[in-house]
């Protein structure tokens, strides 16, 4: 499986999950929280913490304005993929055994996409000193739920419902100045 076929999957997943913590069926459990924490050092340090009940995000996604849904579609179109194609690709990944599907090493970075146990994993490491490392870890059920909608649409609300059964990090990013973590747990604050 070539990287260019899998990268849109990873990009789609990041696109879906990264903004969810900011930009709403039956509700996810009310005691599940979606957290985003950003710590940026350097000359102008910034700390950002977002804690949102998954239920709120799910509800918002159920009634998401069409222009937001269209943005997701546009991103996919730019990557040269339709939801239908991604769904087919995902089915292949789902049915395969644990494996590293893609390893791409370039001068600037190394990208690895794999499936391990119950998770779909993507890892990017920049080659430069202090370069960013991005780790993405999605439960397979969450991606299944994402593709559970109609043929040409991603079901974001279903993905959030599936995320309620998960506990742990979804995305982490760190380099020499910045740390970003996105995770789900049952606590309404970061301890």
């Amino acid at each position: 499986m070539k990287f260019k076929n899998v990268a849109p999957l990873v990009l789609t997943a990041l696109l879906v999950f990264a903004p969810l913590g900011f930009s709403p069926a039956f509700a996810a459990s009310s005691n599940r929280w979606f957290h985003v924490q950003v710590n940026e050092g350097g000359h102008d340090p910034v700390e950002v913490t977002v804690n949102l009940p998954l239920q709120l995000i799910e509800t918002a996604l159920e009634v998401l304005p069409e222009d937001i849904s269209r943005e997701v579609q546009i991103e996919l179109d730019d990557a040269g993929f339709t939801v239908k194609e991604l769904r087919r690709l995902w089915q292949e990944v789902r049915q395969s055994d644990d494996a590293t599907f893609v390893t791409v090493k370039s001068e600037d970075e190394t990208v690895e996409v794999s499936k391990s146990g119950d998770y779909f994993l993507a890892k990017t490491v920049e080659s430069r000193d202090g370069g960013a490392q991005v780790d993405v870890k999605f439960p397979l059920e969450v991606v299944d739920a994402l593709f559970s909608g109609s043929e040409e649409e991603l079901d974001l609300a279903a993905a959030i419902r599936a995320l309620a059964d998960y506990e742990g990090s979804v995305v982490t990013v760190h380099d020499d100045e910045t740390r970003v973590r996105v995770w789900v747990d049952g606590k309404n604050k970061i301890e």
Binding site: P24, S30, P45, T49, A60, P65, D67
Partner: protein, 153 residues
């Protein structure tokens, strides 16, 4: 004759008093939001404003027939699909457990959005200003619903 006039006046006063109490109860039933703004500098401001949320409610109700139709049409066009989202988000905000929803710290500024004992609180601290807003969380639902009704007309 005098007795009849006095009785009529009494009835009118009772009606007016009753209507005033009812209106006050309606306005206050939505709770009271507070806005506090303090700035520094030559034109420093120190403002504390309690806002009965019911007034906002009433205002939005009146807007549907007081605002010119072309302006309402413009508003509907700009808001388009957002009111259902607003209503859903405000409803869930009112229901969700207490907690710190958003916290931002930079070198000079701090922003905090917290749900605490049924109230949504927004605190902003900057070198030249301090803002504190506190609203009953349930009032957001009413406002969200009113906006939805306004756009749906």
């Amino acid at each position: 004759m005098v007795k009849a006039i006095a009785l009529s006046l009494l009835v009118v006063l009772v009606i007016i008093a009753g209507a005033t109490v009812a209106a006050g109860a309606y306005v206050l039933s939505a709770g009271v939001g507070t806005v506090q703004v303090r700035t520094t500098g030559p034109e420093a401001v120190d403002l504390y404003l309690p806002v009965p949320v019911g007034l906002v409610d009433l205002g939005l109700s009146v807007a549907s027939f007081a605002v010119p139709e072309e302006e309402l049409a413009q508003l509907r066009h700009e808001m388009e699909d957002w009111p259902p989202l607003l209503e859903s988000v405000t409803r869930e905000l009112a229901r969700c457990p207490d907690g710190t929803l958003v916290e931002v710290h930079t070198r000079d500024e701090k922003v905090l959005i917290v749900k605490d004992r049924g109230r949504l609180k927004i605190d902003v601290d900057a070198p030249d200003a301090r803002v504190r807003v506190s609203l009953p969380a349930r009032s957001l639902v009413r406002i969200g619903r009113k906006l939805d009704d306004l756009v749906d007309l």
